[in-house]
């Protein structure tokens, strides 16, 4: 009985992964094949990019501030409080900026995509779209993926900048350290590969959060309860995948830029 259950769950997992791979591939290929729905891309960019700006700014400021607070005491013990700026900027740009922005935007937008598309599925709007001769993946999914990738890239830059500003505010007003020193340390010790690393990650994270959100939305079954279930699955899967893929990309990029960093 237990073996049957394990067998069934394993098959289900593999089937889900297979379905996701096909879905994500189709959506990705559509990015480069006309027709591309530019209006839908702009609308989604506004929803995902401009709509997420406030949470990204707030989380960036707080994270930078916390980093400065936590690091200052440890660094002071080694007489290295002056490198707080370097610590905050490197951590934000290489790691926390992309990952935090990915997770925050995923919480806001993967859930919204899953619930919106899920509602369309259960009310037969997706079938109606197919019956009208329009490909729902091309019309609904591709613009969301395209917009998520583009917007997450810029949101990550905003988050990095806010994190460095937040760290600076804490350093100057709470830790009573020298402001220009913080900013020169934050800027001068940044390396090109670190910036590349920080800007490559959001491209993957944007793809993950939107494809996972749309995937769970499009395979919703079971009415309104099913929409809720899809939303939860989308957010959990997207967040976990972002953190997991971050590990792989970091390892890969560290190898590539081994001699630089």
């Amino acid at each position: 009985m237990a073996l049957d259950s394990i067998d069934k769950t394993a098959k289900q997992l593999i089937l889900t992964f297979q379905d996701y791979s096909i879905f994500a591939y189709r959506a990705l290929v559509n990015l480069f094949r006309p027709p591309i729905y530019w209006t839908d891309f702009l609308v989604q960019s506004d929803i995902i990019g401009v709509g997420s700006l406030s949470i990204v700014v707030l989380s960036g400021l707080s994270t930078g501030g916390v980093l400065a607070l936590q690091s200052a005491s440890t660094l002071s013990a080694f007489g290295a409080a002056a490198v707080t700026g370097q610590f905050v900027s490197k951590t934000m740009i290489r790691e926390l900026g992309p990952v935090l922005t990915g997770v925050m935007v995923s919480g806001r937008n993967a859930s919204s995509m899953a619930s919106e598309l899920g509602s369309m599925v259960v009310t037969e709007q997706i079938d109606a779209m197919r019956a009208l001769g329009v490909d729902p993946i091309r019309k609904l999914v591709t613009p969301r993926i395209f917009a998520s990738i583009a917007m997450l890239f810029f949101l990550t830059i905003v988050s990095d900048a806010c994190g460095i500003i937040g760290g600076g505010l804490v350093t100057v007003f709470m830790n009573h350290q020298n402001g220009p020193q913080y900013y020169s340390m934050a800027w001068e010790h940044l390396l090109f590969p670190e910036i590349v690393q920080g800007l490559v990650k959001p491209l993957f994270f944007g793809y993950i959060l939107s494809s996972v959100g749309c995937f769970y939305g499009m395979r919703t079954t079971g009415g309104t309860q099913g929409v809720g279930r899809s939303t939860i699955q989308a957010v959990v899967t997207a967040s976990v995948l972002i953190i997991f893929v971050d590990f792989i990309i970091t390892r890969l990029l560290l190898n590539i830029f081994a001699s630089w960093i």
Partner: protein, 281 residues
């Protein structure tokens, strides 16, 4: 009129010989979803100018059959020919083009709730990048056909259930389809609204002569379709002379996934099949 009264003898007028092949042809179609077959060995066809009414109790697979007809679902075995092309194995990309020739009315209308009525009705035209002025004219014409021109700027949420079905009919008709599929167009509506919808379907049938496949479990609607015609003079449906039926409107009946009847109203009423007798009782 008591349709089942033995005193009424229906005369099936000879149907004009079909000029072309069937527009839709099911041959030995079987489909299952992780269990026993939902549909088994379904074979029937829809000829040009023909209206076929698919009867059967709820949950018997009528809507599934309709989704198979335009390739929204794929059969496990058998073939489905739509406009002489086998859609059962056709890639989805090719199906999109073929579906633009079909108008489908979904059970609950399936209108896009984030778009106003104008954009819902014009959805296909907008995708084809037809100029806005032309779209407006064609949308108003389609809405006039369903007598809902005043809803042009409204969102679907502000329409009643019957109005949504009528807008869905307008959306299905705007592209002048070669085949119409109606999925329980009167399901869940009150009798007066149902009659309005059936009148629209008769008007479409007698006005454009588009072949159609209509799914319903309501005998009253099916019989009304068969025994009435649209009178352009009065703009309403009127009964055919007593005992006459529309020659191009015929019936199919599904039971437990199998097609158990295919024929005219007269043949339906004379059928000795116990399920048909029970269903008509």
């Amino acid at each position: 009129m008591d349709l089942k009264s033995p005193a009424v003898h229906f005369v099936q007028e000879p149907a004009p010989k079909a000029a072309n092949d069937p527009v839709l042809k099911f041959s030995g179609v079987t489909l299952s979803f992780d269990g026993p077959p939902v549909l088994q060995n379904i074979t029937f066809s829809v000829s040009p100018r023909e209206t076929r009414i698919l009867l059967g109790p709820t949950g018997v697979g009528k809507s599934v059959l309709l989704k198979l007809a335009n390739g929204l679902l794929r059969p496990d075995t058998g073939s489905i020919e739509l406009f002489d092309q086998d859609v059962s194995r056709m890639p989805e990309e090719l199906l999109f083009a073929l579906r633009t020739r079909i108008g489908m009315v979904f059970q609950e209308g399936a209108l896009f709730d984030s778009l106003i009525v104008r954009d819902n009705v014009a959805y296909q035209l907008i995708q084809e990048e037809i100029p806005d002025d032309e779209i407006d004219v064609r949308v108003r014409e389609a809405l006039r056909f369903v007598e809902l021109e005043q809803t042009f700027d409204l969102f679907p949420a502000s329409l009643s259930g019957g109005m949504r079905r009528r807008v869905a009919i307008a959306r299905a008709l705007i592209h002048k389809p070669d085949l119409l599929l109606y999925d329980s167009p009167t399901g869940g509506l009150d009798p007066v609204t149902s009659t309005t919808i059936i009148e629209l379907i008769i008007k479409q049938r007698d006005f454009y002569h588009t072949p159609s496949l209509l799914v319903t479990h309501r005998l009253q609607d099916a019989f009304t379709l068969c025994t009435h015609r649209f009178d352009p003079g009065s703009g309403t449906m009127v009964p055919l002379p007593k005992g006459h039926t529309d020659p191009n409107t015929t019936f199919l009946m599904l039971s437990e996934g199998s097609l158990i009847f295919d024929g005219s109203l007269a043949q339906l009423l004379e059928s000795q099949d116990p399920f048909v007798r029970d269903f008509l009782a």
